[in-house]
């Protein structure tokens, strides 16, 4: 049985191979073509070849020649890049392509929040209905395919409110801390902190950083700055007697995992902003933003918008400083400050 099948299979293939023809062709021709190759002994011909500079060790040691090698290599590389650039212009042009980092590098302003933008960035997707936290019922628009859909109107409203909070805190010189400890949130967290002039935690929140701050953050450097954020080194010695710093606002991108952080913020009266998905407890944060916290796009959008808000707040703070106005109560650092204290209050 097996043998027959093998024959029938192989036989057809054998037939398809044109073997017979090659055998016939041999009989047709009277003269056989033998390959004639003239073998030449390889003789080294003395010709003037261009001398290629070989980088020897001594040459590499010599700074000038190594510089020239570097220069040549850099030139060759830049030429090649230029070629690639030139040839890229040819052919079809791809427009409106998706650039994943655009949301992080150039986030939208709080005034540019639209429901379309939120929808495009997946902020409406909640969790499976079985995992919901009933305290979020007010934020839920409906159920689709077994998952809760978050109401985008509410997301937009709460996001704008949170943006206002961030802007005001930044304008009053507060320390804003962005925390996102999930994998992949690092870039968004660092960028938002950079825009706001704030601080970031993207790895693990060390428990006790607020409640036991002197032990954990005691060795980290601080500085005294004036209204323009310029360092005043002559006041540095006064810092030693002071305790560690605490943030004035914490933006938490994953409240579900940051229970310790939120608890510490609660103990220290630090207001918090958090992205509340349908499975999170909205009472853990001061200013919830009902949105999807599992999508990196959603998280990047929200962090970016808050970062932009903080940027605007910082700008306001610097503008008022240029007018000689300190919009917040300045820090008191002892004797030298006492004489100047009433003036600062006047300015405020």
């Amino acid at each position: 049985m097996i043998v027959r099948q093998l024959y029938s299979r192989q036989g057809r293939q054998l037939l398809s191979v044109n073997r017979q023809a090659s055998i016939l062709r041999r009989f047709q021709s009277t003269e056989t073509q033998t390959p004639t190759t003239t073998v030449e002994t390889a003789v080294k011909v003395e010709t003037e070849e261009p001398v290629i500079p070989v980088p020897t060790e001594s040459a590499l040691d010599n700074s000038t020649s190594s510089d020239s090698i570097r220069l040549a290599a850099t030139e060759a590389f830049s030429r090649q890049r230029q070629n690639v650039k030139n040839f890229k212009k040819l052919g079809s042009v791809v427009r409106n392509k998706y650039w994943p980092d655009a949301l992080i590098e150039n986030p939208p302003l709080p005034s540019q929040i639209t429901l379309e933008l939120l929808l495009a960035n997946q902020t409406h997707l909640g969790h499976s209905t079985s995992r919901w936290n009933p305290s979020n019922s007010q934020y839920i628009f409906g159920i689709r395919d077994g998952i809760h859909i978050i109401s985008l109107e509410l997301t937009a409203a709460y996001l704008r409110r949170a943006a206002k909070v961030v802007e005001e805190v930044a304008a009053l010189g507060g320390l804003i801390l962005f925390v996102g400890t999930r994998q992949g949130q690092k870039h968004a967290v660092v960028r938002a902190a950079e825009l706001t002039g704030g601080y970031h935690v993207f790895d693990r929140w060390i428990p006790g950083s607020l409640t036991n701050g002197n032990e954990i953050l005691g060795s980290c450097d601080r500085k005294v700055v004036n209204a323009f954020d310029e360092e005043l080194p002559e006041w540095a010695e006064r810092l030693e007697s002071r305790g560690s710093l605490k943030p004035d606002l914490v933006v938490c991108l994953n409240p579900l995992e940051s229970t310790v952080l939120l608890h510490e913020c609660g103990l220290n009266n630090v207001p918090t902003i958090g992205i509340i998905d349908t499975d999170a407890d909205s009472t853990k944060v001061t200013y919830p933003i009902p949105a999807n916290d599992d999508s990196l796009r959603s998280v990047s959008l929200i962090a970016g918008v808050l970062g932009r808000a903080g940027e605007a707040g910082q700008r306001r703070r610097f503008e008022s400083a240029k007018r000689g106005v300190l919009g917040y109560r300045s820090v008191s650092l002892g004797k030298k400050d006492v004489a100047e204290r009433p003036e600062s209050e006047d300015a405020a």
Binding site: D203, V224, F228, L245, D337
Partner: protein, 321 residues
């Protein structure tokens, strides 16, 4: 029909009423009757009172309010306003580490398209050990995190050295051990003033030092002849194997000092020391000696005894009960 709704009537009444309130003020404000306006402005009317109350800077008469004193910006700048952390990573507990990490990652993202060489061809640099790095930063950096950072550093080091940007080179130098031990080759050893070559060797518990001079093939170990020290032929052969395999037995005199261990260990410690000393005299012999296996260090030592075992690995005989 619309009028029949009571709501509409109310709206309509309001729309009639609201302009009538303003109508009383209109003739005074309109530009069509400037005379009246001028007359009115002479007298203290309710309208003028209202404008004064509004208190806009543009409407105030000069001389009524004194300008605020000029701000002394020198003093304003010298006054401390806030205490802030130096680094944006302050709340992570190890801010300097994270600053380094972010800087290195930024550089990698910036120069990720530069051509690379295989890791074996990348310039050898001795990176800081974790303890050194901790001391350097003054922070208790977890080992795992430092290893993660080093991975990025290795990748940056693989950029083609000819195209390595200066900023990347400077950033990498931060992580190189001070002195860069791998960067400099050790000096080649030389004969001393009296034509002696000195070599050291170890095997098992024995340590040997050999002084090799050109001569007629005399061998002294701890002041005794080879026959006295090593009664076994095998030991005598292995002690002088470096000279034997290179056919130099009658060309050099050997003076060896050896201590510790047993006869085998001592003989093979001399082998290694002798081979190293011979390489100082004739570096060209290295391939032969390598092939003969006399410059390969044998790092094996006696394995320690373990509890529950009779020796290092031997277990006591199993008894049923």
């Amino acid at each position: 029909m619309a009028w029949s709704s009571s709501n509409c009537v109310v709206h309509a009444m309001q729309s009639i009423r609201s302009p009538t309130v303003l109508r009383a003020l209109l003739p005074q404000q309109s530009a069509a009757r400037p005379n009246i306006l001028r007359k009115v402005s002479l007298l203290p009317t309710p309208l003028q009172q209202r404008t004064n109350v509004r208190n806009y800077a543009t409407e105030l008469q000069p001389g009524e309010v004194q300008a605020a004193a000029e701000i002394d910006f020198e003093q304003f700048k010298a006054r401390p306003a806030r205490i802030v952390p130096v680094s944006p990573s302050y709340f992570s507990g190890i801010p300097k580490f994270y600053d380094h990490l972010l800087q290195i990652e930024r550089l990698l993202a910036q120069h990720t398209t530069l051509p690379t060489v295989p890791p074996s061809e990348a310039p050898r640099r001795a990176w800081m050990k974790i303890a050194q790095f901790r001391e350097h930063l003054g922070e208790e950096v977890p080992t795992k995190k430092y290893m993660g950072l080093l991975k990025v550093v290795y990748r940056l080091n693989c950029i083609d050295p000819k195209l390595l940007p200066a900023e990347v080179d400077a950033a990498l130098q931060e992580f190189v051990r001070p002195g860069n031990p791998l960067g400099e080759k050790p000096k080649p050893r030389e004969l001393d003033g009296m034509g002696r070559a000195r070599g050291k060797g170890k095997r098992k518990e024995s340590h040997a030092v050999v002084y090799l001079v050109e001569g007629e093939g005399e061998v002294l170990v701890n002041g005794k002849t080879l026959n006295e020290v090593f009664p076994r032929v095998h030991d005598r052969e292995s002690a002088t194997w470096a000279l034997r395999c290179s056919a130099r037995l009658d060309k050099y005199n050997v003076f060896a000092r050896v201590k510790g261990g047993g006869t085998t260990g001592q003989a093979e410690a001399i082998t290694l020391a002798l081979a190293r000393a011979l390489m100082i005299h004739e570096p060209g012999l290295k391939p032969i000696l390598r092939k003969a296996g006399v410059i390969t260090v044998d790092p094996r030592r006696v394995e320690r005894k373990k509890p529950g075992h009779m020796k290092a690995r031997k277990m006591p005989t199993w008894v049923k009960r």
